[in-house]
């Protein structure tokens, strides 16, 4: 599958930036309030740009963005709203594990979600039927289909259409962050499923099941980075506008120190590199980037609320939402302390966690 050129990718990223600014940011509060209509509206716009199938080839209605292009795009979308960017990530990750004939059954504009294996996920597959329970599946509520990653030594995944008999989804009303990707618990009692093969593209699937968790982690990192960018931009603007002590608050070291720390964290964002086919991120790199970017986003969004003072604590200003969204990035697909564990498990003795960045 031939990928887009760098120029083409840059163009799509610019379109995503514009969309985030013009369409998503103004709807972020409504998305946060859990509005399904507004989610459908936004999804329609995104699908119109092919961002729901960014990893697929043209034959399957895709835009062949490749992983680096997808990550750059969802980072831009996350500047507008982290939750909707998460929907794009989950949909792309899900559809990219499906075989060609499975994709043929997925109508254009459908929203799917990949459900990673995680603590509390107990799934068993037998005779084409899936049993078990997932306590928290991000983006699952209202999705047209789900791809469940099954834990265990051999990577495997199963696709279940939303209306399948034996699948019961219950919306997680307590969900605190990334609320535009509405979460649900999933009860599976003999739910009809088909294996999602993943793989090299031979069967149509763009992403191997084994590399799907790394894609989710790298994508979550990109979303966290987008959220942190938004927090910095908003806090910087406010710090110039708000006056206390007879001057703009940016004149106070207490404020400019926080802003500077945010800028430094943003500058430390590493470029994520993919394999030559542009379809897989190295596992250790994804873990490192996910841990670093989400911790940074939590720190920066918390500081952004602080720069805004009491105003930042109010829901209407959209600043505290960034903090909630960033916190969910820190916890997804697993909390960072478990990601640290994974990282060390993936490192044989004598290897460094990440390769030196190309100069």
């Amino acid at each position: 599958m031939s990928m887009l050129t760098a120029t083409e990718r840059a163009e799509i990223t610019a379109v995503a930036r514009e969309l985030a600014h013009r369409e998503l940011a103004p709807r972020a509060a409504a998305l946060d309030a859990g509005g399904q209509d507004v989610l459908a509206e936004c999804w329609h716009l995104l699908a119109g740009l092919g961002l729901d199938r960014a990893l697929l080839d043209e034959e399957h209605g895709g835009s062949r963005l490749g992983v680096p292009g997808l990550l750059a795009t969802i980072e831009e979308l996350a500047v507008g709203d982290g939750g909707i960017a998460m929907c794009v990530l989950l949909c792309n990750a899900a559809l990219a594990t499906l075989a060609g004939e499975q994709l043929a059954d997925v109508p254009a504009g459908a929203r799917w979600a990949l459900v990673p294996a995680a603590p509390g996920t107990e799934l068993a597959i037998a005779d084409g039927q899936l049993d078990g329970r997932v306590a928290f599946a991000l983006g699952a509520h209202g999705a047209d289909g789900l791809v469940f990653l099954l834990g265990g030594p051999e990577p495997a995944a199963s696709a279940v259409a939303a209306g399948a008999a034996g699948l019961r989804l219950e919306r997680d009303l307590a969900q605190m962050g990334l609320r535009a990707a509405p979460a649900a618990s999933a009860e599976l009692a003999g739910a009809d499923c088909t294996p999602a093969p993943g793989g090299s593209g031979a069967q149509g699937a763009a992403v191997s099941v084994a590399s799907a968790p790394a894609l989710l982690r790298a994508g979550t990192a990109a979303i966290a980075h987008g959220i942190a960018r938004r927090a910095y931009e908003a806090a910087l603007e406010y710090a110039h506008a708000r006056q206390q002590g007879g001057v703009a608050i940016i004149e106070h070291d207490a404020v400019s120190d926080m802003l500077s720390a945010m800028a430094v964290r943003l500058a430390c964002w590493p470029q994520i590199t993919a394999d030559p086919a542009g379809l897989a991120v190295e596992e250790a790199q994804a873990l490192v980037v996910k841990i670093a970017a989400t911790d940074a986003a939590v720190a920066s969004t918390t500081d952004a609320v602080q720069v805004f003072g009491g105003t930042g604590y109010m829901v209407g200003t959209g600043i505290e939402k960034l903090m909630r969204d960033a916190k969910y990035c820190q916890l997804f697909p697993e909390p960072n302390w478990l990601a640290h564990n994974e990282l060390m498990r993936s490192q044989p003795a004598g290897r460094t966690a990440v390769k030196a960045r190309p100069t």
């Binding site: 306590a135 928290f136 404020v255 997804f332 909390p335 302390w337």
Partner: protein, 515 residues
């Protein structure tokens, strides 16, 4: 839910509490703590999530039943002086109660905390202000139809600026009080006022001359049934939702002279005193939030099937130990700051024979016209200030304010760290405990913002402890007293004279000196 029962008594944990001559009765404090814990377990914890959800949908929704239940447990009269029918507590009692309630639900707790904050300017202005509204509040609690208070300092254009006397001088104050015959007319807007939409009485700080706010900052007691008072927007907040924060507008609201709290122009110093007294309880709010998160995550790890095996992991053990450590330190800080305020900064005044004597005067006598008249007089207000100068110093209050600010700022950081770490331990798959921890994490953020941002509080620590500055925390003595026919006094003369006034009032009212 795991509830961490105290293994050591307050006396064992904080020996300074039981210091000879101190004004705190430790057994009474233990009983108060137990009562707050009972109220929290029976009434607060079971309703916390539901109230958070309802107020998330409708910020104006308010649970008066809970306030009544709190009143039955005495939670509304903790800092009302005994002569006015309350428990006679100060910072320490308020703080101990706050930790207990906040471990269950900070939003609900802060209804009672903001009420105490509203009372504190009256409490700290001295016995001349203790009858009237404070007695009415205590009576309303007893009658089962409680009234609430709030304290309004913050304005749209001045948040940090009204929390510090130096900044106040340059603040963009938009509210003001205009002198009219018999009192003042208040106009302007106050913002983010906890309990603002549900309070019957509000202590409000504003300038009588907005061009000279620091010199003319004055505290008024406003009846919210007054013409011209209105509640604007009730804020939709990230957390601590059970306690409404509202915008308040004042349109020529009349406040009679007798409802000036303390003296006209003493508001800047009074604000510092109020903050020295109220920041340790905010440190306790934060400590309670951290403890609530710790108790919940520990309970989940011990009892939930999904957490099986996790307690055996070193990462988890180290995280829990870190939480214990931080909570312990935060508690030590707020208790130290509370005791410093109660014993050292204000203890002398509160345990002064003249003040204690007032407590022995029956309310019926205090209510008689001549005594009431004297208590409301300028002379009585001056006497209270003289007593403060006699029993404490600006340096002592500055130091106390710095310790209070330290407890508040560190507590807020601890609350954020512990709730964040607890949430990380349980992750997104944990079920109901996740919702409780998420709520505490949202609640925690506010403790870094209100009562002055943590940045401002740390600058206060610098000034008071690192730089050893002395801030104007006491209202000045008046060198010329109307009762002396305008004769000038030195400060020392004035002090002796005014204190004699205070003592004579106590004996007029039949109390007599009591040691």
């Amino acid at each position: 839910m795991t509830s961490i029962a105290p293994e050591r008594s307050l006396r064992e944990q904080f020996p300074r509490l039981a210091r000879r001559g101190g004004r705190l009765d430790v057994r009474e404090l233990e009983r108060l703590r137990a009562r707050a814990r009972r109220f929290a377990e029976v009434h607060v914890r079971p309703r916390a999530l539901e109230i958070d959800r309802r107020t998330g949908e409708d910020p104006g929704w308010f649970d008066w039943d809970l306030v009544r239940a709190g009143g039955e447990h005495g939670m509304l009269s903790v800092v009302i002086p005994k002569p006015a029918g309350g428990m006679g507590g100060l910072a320490t009692q308020a703080a101990v109660v706050m930790e207990e309630l906040c471990a269950a639900c900070p939003g609900i707790a802060v209804i009672f905390g903001a009420h105490a904050l509203g009372i504190s300017p009256l409490l700290l202005a001295g016995p001349s202000q203790w009858d009237g509204v404070l007695a009415e509040l205590a009576g309303s609690e007893r009658s089962g139809e409680p009234l609430l208070m709030a304290c309004a300092i913050t304005e749209p254009e001045a948040g940090t600026d009204v929390e510090d006397p130096e900044l106040l001088a340059r603040a963009r104050i938009t509210s003001h009080a205009r002198r009219v015959p018999g009192g003042f007319r208040l106009s302007g807007t106050k913002r983010f006022i906890s309990n603002g939409s549900v309070a019957r009485w509000i202590t409000i700080m504003t300038a009588t001359d907005p061009r000279r706010p620091a010199q003319t900052w004055t505290c008024f007691l406003v009846d919210t049934r007054s013409e011209g008072f209105a509640v604007g927007r009730v804020e939709h907040k990230m957390g601590q939702r059970a306690c409404p924060a509202a915008e308040l507008t004042f349109d020529e609201v009349f406040v009679p002279d007798e409802r000036i709290v303390g003296r006209d122009g003493d508001g800047a110093a009074a604000t510092m005193m109020v903050l020295a007294c109220s920041r340790p309880p905010v440190g306790a709010i934060a400590t309670g939030i951290a403890r609530g998160a710790y108790e919940r995550v520990l309970g989940w790890l011990e009892e939930d099937r999904a957490a099986r095996g996790l307690l055996g992991r070193q990462h988890v053990q180290l995280a829990l130990a870190g939480m214990e450590e931080e909570i312990h330190l935060a508690r030590q800080l707020y208790m130290d700051a509370s005791i410093e305020f109660d014993h050292t900064a204000l203890g002398g005044a509160m345990s002064h024979p003249a003040v204690r004597a007032l407590g022995h005067v029956p309310a019926s006598v205090r209510g008689r016209a001549p005594v009431r008249g004297w208590l409301a007089s300028d002379r009585a207000r001056d006497a209270a200030i003289a007593l403060l100068h006699r029993t404490t110093s600006e340096r002592a209050v500055t130091r106390s304010l710095a310790l209070s600010s330290m407890a508040k700022a560190r507590g807020g950081d601890v609350a954020m760290r512990v709730t964040g770490a607890a949430l990380e331990l349980v992750g997104l798959h944990a079920g109901p405990v996740r919702a409780e921890l998420e709520k505490l994490w949202r609640d925690a953020k506010l403790t870094q913002i209100y009562e002055g941002t943590n940045q401002l509080n740390r600058l206060e620590v610098y000034r008071g402890l690192c730089h050893r500055e002395t801030i104007g925390c006491l209202p000045p003595l008046r060198a010329i007293h109307p009762g002396t026919g305008g004769k000038a006094h030195t400060n020392t003369d004035a002090r002796a004279h005014l204190e004699a006034g205070a003592l004579s009032c106590a004996s007029v009212s039949g109390g007599g000196g009591e040691s």
